[in-house]
Amino acid sequence: MFVVVVGCGRVGAQVARGLVGDGHDVNVIDQNAEALQRLGGDFPGEFIQGVALETTVLEAAGIERADAFVAATNGDNTNLVIAQIARDRYQVQCVIVRVLDPARARFYEERGLVTVCPTRTAIDRMSEALRAFATADGEDA
């Protein structure tokens, strides 16, 4: 499949590299030219420097023929807006959006977006680990 990834930070870059490793075609958008370094010198896809809110930038990255779209910039609202543009304007079948705020993640999940919320994951994992400790501790006592 062909995937457009927006945001080439820690998350976006590793998702892009992983997809390439699985044999998929991937183009990456970031507004910062230096972000290209995170992809490594052997990255086979295109890197487009630009603001993803601009449709010319999205189209230069090939959004019109994308099977999947990943919104992983460090701005929740930017991610939510470009994800909806990808879905509603370009009819991209699979749209995945990173949202740090759990409340906004839930709201847009209900509106049909596939949201990934690292904050929610951290809360759940930490609570789980602490509960496991409390249970084990309780058994010891």
Binding site: L53, E54, T55, G75, D76, N77, T78, L80, V81, Q84, I85, D88, R89, D101, A103, R104, F107, R111
Partner: protein
């Protein structure tokens, strides 16, 4: 009426002042600490500190009982999200949003955040009105209502030149509402006779531009 304004810059603060003068209840949400401090010294409890794209901040500002949400931050993506959350999460019936970059207007339209106000577009319309480069100028759009108000220059030898309004067959969904001549505007009447150099103000459903141009601006 209760209005929640998100974004306490020049636009937000001035809209807030005006609504307060009109006797309405207002909250102004501002995320920047320094700007919030300035707002608080003037507006006291009406100013609220917080990121207005966070649902709990809007909840604390009473968005659920707001009659109107005014999203006027300097970020278009924030204004879109505020508009969507106000309407669909809090059920606010009236949302007004500011478009900072006119290139983002299409995103507001696509994602259903309307009506919108864009200063750049308004300034361009005014320039076009004062110094017309084109014979058809969009003055004002009621997007949700599907109506445009535009100004068209009457060209010499066009069908409109010398014709009374009553005798002019207008395209469906269009109406001449006033005629500007020598900088004086008059409300259009059926016996108003048009002349080259007049500017007519027309209210129209979108998509009638070329039909209107044919009547007023083609020789």
């Amino acid at each position: 009426m209760y209005a929640v304004i998100v974004g306490g810059g020049k636009v937000g603060a001035n809209v807030g002042r005006a609504l307060l003068r009109m006797g309405h209840e207002v909250s102004i949400v501002e995320a920047r600490p320094s700007r919030f401090a300035t707002l608080e010294s003037e507006f006291e409890h009406i100013a609220r500190y917080g990121d207005g794209t966070e649902i709990f901040v809007l909840e604390a500002a009473g968005m659920a009982r707001a009659d109107v949400c005014i999203a006027v931050t300097g970020d278009d993506e924030d204004n879109i999200i505020i508009g969507q959350v106000a309407r669909d999460h809090f059920g606010v019936e009236n949302v007004v949003a500011r478009v900072n970059d006119p290139r983002n207007q299409e995103h507001f339209d696509l994602l259903g955040v309307a009506p919108t106000v864009c200063a750049t577009e308004s300034i361009l319309s005014l320039i076009e009105h004062e110094v017309p480069q084109h014979s058809l100028v969009h003055l004002f759009s009621l997007r949700r209502e599907n109506l445009d108000i535009m100004e068209i220059g009457v060209v010499e030898e066009s069908r409109a030149d010398g014709a009374a309004l009553a005798d002019l067959t207008m395209p469906p969904g269009t109406l001449v509402i006033s005629v500007l001549r020598n900088r004086v505007g008059r409300v259009a009447a059926s016996d108003t006779v048009l002349a080259a150099g007049d500017q007519v103000v027309v209210i129209a459903e979108p998509g009638q531009e070329s039909a209107l141009m044919e009547i007023f601006a083609s020789e």
